[in-house]
């Protein structure tokens, strides 16, 4: 089964879970006076869940003819691409998300930029480190001072 049909199967599951929540769990807690309304909070989701199930079934069963098209990236040969780099970068983004608050903006951002280019194969530390630090400070200054959005610059234990 091709990837798009696997995804359709997952989407069908999502629609069913969504539909279950809409049809069976939402109306119970509705206040009595609201039950006299022609529209309930669950009305629109109910319609959506049904339409979503139909659409995902159409894709899943292949009811719509489609011609084979050469994709930009062939997922069947994913390992031939630079998959490792992509996964490491995604991991780095997650680490950044988790560290941004505790470690402060300046540490986490300069670290992100340095490790990011390191993962992509950059080894010229004398360029990479100054560029990352300069960019971090410039962005911090712009966001903090020009846009006026507070970003904690330093780690918590340094009182940032």
């Amino acid at each position: 089964m091709a990837l798009d049909r696997w995804i359709a199967l997952i989407l069908l599951g999502i629609c069913m879970a969504y539909g279950y929540a809409a049809w069976f769990t939402m109306d119970g807690s509705l206040a009595p006076f609201m039950k006299r309304n022609p529209i309930w909070p669950s009305t629109f989701p109910k319609v959506l869940s049904l339409m979503g199930m139909v659409a995902s079934l159409i894709i899943l069963l292949g009811l719509e003819k489609s011609e084979a098209k050469e994709a930009e990236i062939d997922y069947r040969r994913l390992t031939e691409y630079k998959l490792g780099q992509a996964i490491l970068l995604l991991g780095l983004m997650v680490a950044y998300a988790l560290l941004l608050r505790p470690a402060g903006f300046i540490f986490s951002t300069s670290g992100f930029l340095i490790f990011g280019s390191f993962i992509l194969g950059e080894r010229k530390f004398h360029i990479m480190v100054p560029v990352s630090l300069a960019a971090t400070f410039v962005v911090w200054y712009l966001v903090q001072e020009v846009l006026g959005i507070y970003l904690r610059p330093m780690p918590g234990f340094l009182g940032g």
């Binding site: 091709a2 798009d4 696997w6 995804i7 359709a8 989407l11 629609c15 969504y18 929540a21 939402m26 807690s29 309304n37 022609p38 529209i39 909070p41 009305t43 629109f44 989701p45 959506l48 339409m51 979503g52 659409a55 995902s56 894709i59 009811l63 719509e64 003819k65 489609s66 011609e67 098209k69 994709a71 930009e72 990236i73 997922y75 994913l78 630079k82 992509a86 970068l89 995604l90 983004m93 997650v94 950044y96 998300a97 988790l98 941004l100 608050r101 951002t109 992100f112 930029l113 990011g116 992509l120 950059e122 990479m128 560029v131 962005v139 966001v143 846009l147 006026g148 959005i149 507070y150």
Partner: protein
């Protein structure tokens, strides 16, 4: 209208807004040139900046400047490197790149700039004529018609999606609508589908979703598959002049394509990509026999046609946004999100309630096109140097700006985890050839669609509004026909064979 024009001129010519146009166009050109970053990603990254400015006219002027700057920048990389940064400029590389290879890169860039200028200017003129007319009609609409109109818009997006793509586009639209129901709606005052998670109480962040749908997958694609481009031509751009005879031969092409491109841009779901391919195809068909041979080998007409059409279409796509508040493309959907964040609701009331926003944007389009022609064109040889930025530096910065965009909008680190999660899902969806723009459009329209639906249900005490209001019924029938009619699919199939990419 004259009064509006004057207000617009006054607003657009303030020093701040002039700087916004120039800045927006430069940023757009700069980033649009980088392969892999389309206008949607750029605008999504720029949104936090625009929102924090607080002035809706300035914000929209900036974002619109970025939009056509990006299209202009995209055509530069199409011509110089045969590596279109934007789907809407793929057709420009058919004849632009051969011209550059023949050593006529300067001439090709000039033709592209003039064609873009003409397309954009004629588009803005047509916008000035049609938008007020359309919005005075739209003032007659009630919530029932609005609901139906949005359904038409969403079905049109699916209908233009092409062979084998209609169900997928519909599915993505529905998914977007479902995601819009998460959180606490204004109408019911109760949280829905939050699964007890506090961070979902206010729903998914729109900027997070826009970043996850466009910027992140594009960056990941760049990581997975580094593009190899021959950059032999980028160094030597000279002789920007064109002859009188050449100008004479492209003039009718530009005239026809500005109008055709504009009207294609107005259609929801069509937009710059389709306009440029259709423009190219039409001009090739009506050209004399001996000139037809030249198409694909460096014909100046073949370059002028898509360049004019894609810029006119960009302008055209503002018509449904500004008059009905319904975005027809991913890019205008992002603009709509930015406007809502700035407390401006686009729609027929926009011209009455906030004429300065409406007219200033139109005026800034003229200024923006002029800026692109007289400021960016001479700078192109220098800006083209950006194409030499090494990928090792470029990609971490793109990822960082994506993260920042999602973070400073909400100031919430959970948003970053959502961004990565949705980004991975979006990349998988792109692998499987699911279009992502419908998801975002559905997400943005979802709230409004449900509000209008609920209001009509309450007014008519049930779904009677569908058959009691002829206009609503008519629009819904059109929506049904749009989804079912296969002729649209056949037409797109032809374009698809020519290699049309998705979204613009």
């Amino acid at each position: 209208m004259l009064e509006g024009l004057l207000i617009g001129l006054q607003t657009a010519f303030s020093l701040q807004n002039l700087l916004m146009v120039i800045g927006g166009c430069l940023i757009g050109t700069f980033i649009g040139m980088l392969p892999g970053l389309g206008p949607m990603s750029i605008i999504a990254i720029m949104i936090p900046v625009a929102i924090s400015m607080g002035d809706p006219s300035a914000a929209l002027i900036l974002l619109a400047g970025v939009y056509y700057g990006a299209i202009f920048g995209g055509s530069t990389s199409s011509i110089l490197l045969n590596a279109p940064g934007v789907a809407g400029t793929v057709a420009s590389s058919f004849d632009g790149y051969p011209m550059a290879k023949q050593g006529k890169a300067g001439k090709a860039l000039t033709i592209a700039a003039i064609a873009s200028f003409a397309g954009g200017t004629v588009g803005a003129l047509l916008l000035m004529i049609f938008a007020p007319a359309l919005s005075s009609v739209a003032l007659l609409f009630h919530s029932a018609e609005y609901f139906a109109l949005m359904v038409v818009g969403l079905s049109a997006i699916a209908a233009f999606a092409g062979t084998g793509q209609v169900a997928k586009a519909l599915m993505m639209t529905l998914l977007g609508l479902m995601m819009a129901t998460v959180g606490e709606g204004a109408l019911f005052n109760m949280p829905r589908f939050t699964m007890g998670i506090m961070d979902l109480q206010s729903g998914f962040g729109f900027i997070t979703l826009a970043m996850a749908m466009f910027a992140l997958p594009e960056a990941l694609f760049l990581v997975l598959k580094p593009r190899t481009t021959e950059d032999a031509n980028s160094g030597e751009i000279k002789d920007l002049r064109i002859t009188k005879a050449e100008a004479k031969s492209i003039a009718p092409v530009i005239g026809r394509q500005s109008i055709q491109g504009f009207f294609i841009g107005v259609l929801p779901g069509a937009g710059a990509t389709i306009a440029s391919f259709l423009g190219y195809a039409v001009e090739r068909n009506i050209a004399p026999k001996e000139e037809q041979e030249q198409f694909g080998k460096g014909s100046i007409k073949g370059l002028a046609a898509p360049e004019t059409a894609n810029n006119a279409a960009c302008t055209g796509s503002f018509v449904p946004l500004l008059t009905l508040g319904i975005p027809g493309s991913g890019t205008t959907a992002i603009l709509l999100g930015a406007l809502i964040a700035l407390n401006v609701t686009p729609g027929p009331r926009l011209m009455i309630d906030e004429p300065q926003v409406f007219w200033a944007v139109i005026m800034s389009m003229f200024i923006g096109n002029l800026v692109l022609l007289i400021l960016n064109l001479p700078l192109i040889p220098y800006i083209a140097k950006v194409l030499a930025v090494p990928r090792n530096y470029l990609i971490p910065f793109i990822l960082f700006f994506t993260l920042m965009g999602a973070y400073i909008g909400q100031n919430n680190a959970t948003e970053l985890l959502l961004l990565v999660g949705f980004g991975v899902c979006a990349t998988a969806l792109r692998f499987a050839d699911y279009p992502l723009a419908p998801l975002l459009i559905g997400f943005i329209l979802g709230g409004m669609l449900e509000d209008n639906f609920s209001r009509s249900m309450q007014l008519y005490d049930g779904i009677a509004f569908i058959w009691e209001r002829p206009m609503t019924l008519g629009l819904l029938v059109i929506a049904l026909i749009l989804v079912a009619l296969p002729s649209y699919r056949a037409r797109r199939a032809k374009l698809r064979a020519a290699g049309v990419a998705d979204g613009d």
